[in-house]
Symmetry: C2
Subunit: 107 residues, 2 copies
DNA sequence: TACTATGCATCGTAATACGATGTATAGGGA
DNA sequence: TCCCTATACATCGTATTACGATGCATAGTA
């Protein structure tokens, strides 16, 4: 997948993945990978800074968890995050409709 | 519209707009504006560098034109540009399907 | 006269995705 | 035992990008 394709939509995807239930970074990446049929495969350099941005923006909170000797940072949506997700979702639909209106002629 | 939303999809939109028929920069922006119901309103700082990138990549060619005392640079798709458009269109559909698969649960 | 629309262009900035790299644990295969 | 892979976190530096600001020029309109 083109590197630039994701830009501007990553936040939506992460929020949506977390909305499905609290999860740590690795699990979030796996959810996105599975639900996209393998299209999305977030590298660490993309995933973790993005999660930190979400937390900094108070859209998610995190807590440390210890599972089988491995530490995990588990993320959860805040009410603000849920609102942001709704907003992003609407924006996405509007954007996708607009793109379709332009390239739809080709189909 | 969020500034980042467009990222990575601008090339597709421009190619699609030009595919509808040769056009100069201003006209291309108007087509996108109209076909998106006003959502896309490309500023010059976005439009012209992007067109230059397309030409540099040999996806479009340009020729100068003089209309009513105003000079215009008219862009046209190359065969390579047409192929790129097809490719981008496929990529877009794949991407949009994947996003829908992830956020679709919210609807 | 001044403003708006048309039409081109470039520079600098901020944001972003990501490759590379590093650390650490657990488990399986050679 | 040794090594590789998967899991799990993190940061740094780079390239790319969209875009605001700015500038130039013409035509029409208020």
């Amino acid at each position: 997948m083109n590197a630039e394709t994701l830009k501007g939509h990553l936040e939506l995807l992460l929020l949506a993945a977390i909305q499905a239930g609290p999860a740590h970074g690795y699990a979030i990446a796996e959810r996105l990978h599975a639900k996209s049929n393998g299209l999305f495969d977030l590298p660490e350099g993309t995933l973790y800074p993005a999660l930190h941005r979400l937390e900094h923006a108070a859209l998610v909170t995190s807590r440390w968890s210890q599972v089988a000797g491995r530490r995990r940072r588990v993320y959860q949506l805040t009410p603000k995050g849920r609102r942001a997700l709704t907003q992003h979702h609407g924006d996405w639909q509007e954007f996708a409709r607009a793109v379709h209106g332009i390239v739809g002629d080709l189909a």
